[in-house]
Symmetry: C2
Subunit: 187 residues, 2 copies
């Protein structure tokens, strides 16, 4: 059976056995318990994570200490703070685990080296980055349209399993609505 | 003197004369008058534009026909509807010219061919795509924080020349505030 990361990459580009083995040497594994952090505000993010088990959230804290959720990610999604990771500047967000999690991760240096050496992996991440950009544009459209119903429908489309796994108060925070409004949308 | 597109690409990767000439064969030129469209809702977008002169806006219309501005772009910025262009699905936004404009553009097929043949150009656009994604994440943070002042400051940082070139009512639309609120922020 193929490695799950290979299956994932081969949704976009084909790899030989040797190529995938070479790719995999650039990754390491990590585990975190529920509530542990991947990224904290103020640190320069050095790793991009590919989730093999569990579910995480990225968010920022406003001046009143209120949490605003940027996105969720679960098995076979990539996550990091891309601004901090790409520019190697301090992060202004947090990423933490909603469940016990397991990851493959790649360091900034390894990712840069791998994409410089291997056109196929540059192409893979270029496509992923384009899709990430599209997801963010959809989020902006849904925020500007300012209808809680549309934001709810988009979330359901992007993360169908999320509603079984994530506490309702986090979903309400992502949508920017109260628990009461969420119950109305949910029914 | 180097071609402006070459200068622009070489901010990220180095090209030989032969390589740049090859890149340039994948582009064509176009002109549009003020108010003409690059993209209209419902069409599958076939081109990515690099602006050589002028200023454009991308926006969508809500159910009440109200215009919500997604972004602006001017000389040496890239613009298209990335969702429609990447997925080759119908667009749900508009892009039109705020001034008379001139462009270099690349078709979907030429961009795909060029990036497949030339690792350097894959790398160039991968980097551009990462930066685009970061700009959108910043916009989401500023929308969620929901302070008109922060949105104003971010716009000023991203497009310092914009305030001289674009009607105030478009800036108010981008920020999601009234003309009166904008005057207060502006003072």
């Amino acid at each position: 059976m193929k490695h799950p990361l290979r299956q994932h990459i081969e949704e976009i580009i084909e790899l030989t056995d040797e190529e995938f083995d070479f790719v995999l040497t650039h990754f390491e594994t990590d585990k975190k318990r529920k509530h542990q952090y991947l990224v904290q505000e103020g640190e320069v993010v050095k790793k991009e994570y590919w989730i093999t088990k569990g579910c995480v959230k990225s968010y920022f804290l406003d001046d009143n200490g209120k949490e605003h959720i940027l996105r969720f990610a679960m098995e076979h999604w990539w996550i990091t703070d891309y601004e901090s990771f790409v520019k190697q500047t301090p992060s202004n967000i947090y990423i933490d685990c909603i469940e016990d999690c397991e990851f493959l991760y790649i360091s900034f240096e390894n990712r840069d080296r791998l994409t410089a050496q291997m056109h196929k992996m540059e192409r893979f991440w270029a496509k992923k980055s384009k899709l990430g950009r599209i997801a963010l544009q959809k989020r902006i459209l849904s925020l500007l349209k300012n209808s809680a119903k549309e934001r709810y429908d988009l979330l359901l489309e992007q993360y169908p399993q999320l509603f079984q796994r994530v506490p309702k108060k986090l979903i309400a925070s992502y949508l920017g609505v109260s628990r009461e409004t969420l119950s109305r949308l949910d029914s």
